[in-house]
């Protein structure tokens, strides 16, 4: 006996994501889901962003890692509220984890909430967390073939940050190829080239953030 369903498999995650989205809309919070490989500079970028914008904006961070609360400690030291989710092996965050984590910070007081997903260019992109927008970070030392190798992740990004741009002259990184490959899967993505270490290019990223908050 066959039963036809056509039912969404991740419906429970989607229900939770939509609760998160309602919460962000109700409190006029811009929420960004930050996805990259391990070591692309997600935490460094957030630390720099918080340091430069904390006078003007209330920023909260939900950190996702397999183990340790190292990243949340760095965010707290930079002057923002943070809550660390330890996934104990899971390679991505779920909407339910984010829902619970939002209760651990003064979320409703924030203008901007970053969700720093587990470092991984594959799995996080399959799970909606209720974020307003997705930010994918690609760092120059990872190589210029990443948008072609992980098209799904880049296709879902509103913004792509090409980080560690200060290293480009020392490495064989074909920027034109990266820009073309991102354009192929996602012609609407905003792309910023920057360095969280030197500060190069950060102003354009901040302008984009402010635009999101004002609109």
């Amino acid at each position: 006996m066959k039963v036809s369903l056509g039912q969404k498999i991740l419906s429970r995650n989607e229900e939770c994501a939509s609760q998160n989205r309602d919460f962000f809309n109700k409190h006029k919070i811009v929420c960004l889901n930050v996805i990259s490989s391990p070591g692309a500079g997600k935490t460094s970028l957030l630390v720099r962003t918080i340091t430069d914008l904390r006078e003007r904006l209330q920023i909260g961070v939900i950190e996702g890692d397999i183990e340790t609360d190292n990243d949340a400690q760095k965010i707290l030291a930079a002057g923002a509220q943070a809550f660390q989710i330890q996934t104990k092996g899971a390679c991505h965050l779920s909407a339910e984890q984010v829902y619970n984590a939002l209760k651990m910070i003064d979320a409703e007081k924030m203008n901007l909430i970053f969700i720093e997903n587990v470092g991984n260019l594959v799995c996080p992109s399959a799970f909606d967390l209720g974020e307003g927008r997705r930010v994918v970070i690609l760092s120059v030392p990872e190589g210029d073939d990443k948008p072609a190798k992980y098209p799904g992740t880049f296709a879902g990004a509103s913004v792509v940050l090409i980080n560690k741009i200060d290293l480009i002259e020392h490495l064989d990184f074909n920027l034109q190829r990266v820009l073309a490959d991102i354009h192929t899967v996602n012609p609407n993505a905003k792309i910023f080239q920057l360095s969280a270490k030197t500060g190069q290019g950060m102003e354009a990223w901040y302008d984009w953030l402010k635009e999101q908050i004002e609109t």
Binding site: K2, L10, C91, A155
Partner: protein, 115 residues
């Protein structure tokens, strides 16, 4: 290994149906888009592991992959999109708009016939 969470979600959905139907599930068909990046072997392994000791133990899982499609901005042809050869199959243009990827769906479950 996001397949683990997918497997747990499939298991939950099948178990709910099995309670309604009242017989053992034998097989299920799921479908997914390209950006779900589901690997067949890992998906089956994750499901087998999750199903052990439940009413779903020993079930077969069929995975149907739905191709990604894009619409050409020049000639409007809708074609199967290959990220590594993104040209329109009709006019050759590289300017196209990818259509939404297929969602992850539990399509069908086959149950044993009631005695």
């Amino acid at each position: 290994m996001h397949e683990t969470m997918v497997a747990e979600s499939i298991l939950r959905a099948i178990t709910e149906q099995a309670e309604k139907v009242g017989t053992r599930p034998i097989s299920a068909v799921i479908s997914c888009g390209q950006f779900n990046t589901l690997n067949d072997e890992i998906m089956r392994f994750a499901f087998e592991t999750a199903a052990a000791g439940t009413v779903c133990e020993g079930m077969r899982l069929k995975i149907r992959h739905i191709p990604l499609r894009a619409a050409c901005r020049k000639c409007n042809t809708v074609f199967e999109f290959d990220v590594y050869k993104p040209n329109c199959t009709q006019c050759g243009s590289q300017e196209s708009q990818i259509q939404p990827d297929a969602p992850l769906l539990l399509e069908e479950i086959e149950f044993e016939e009631p005695q």
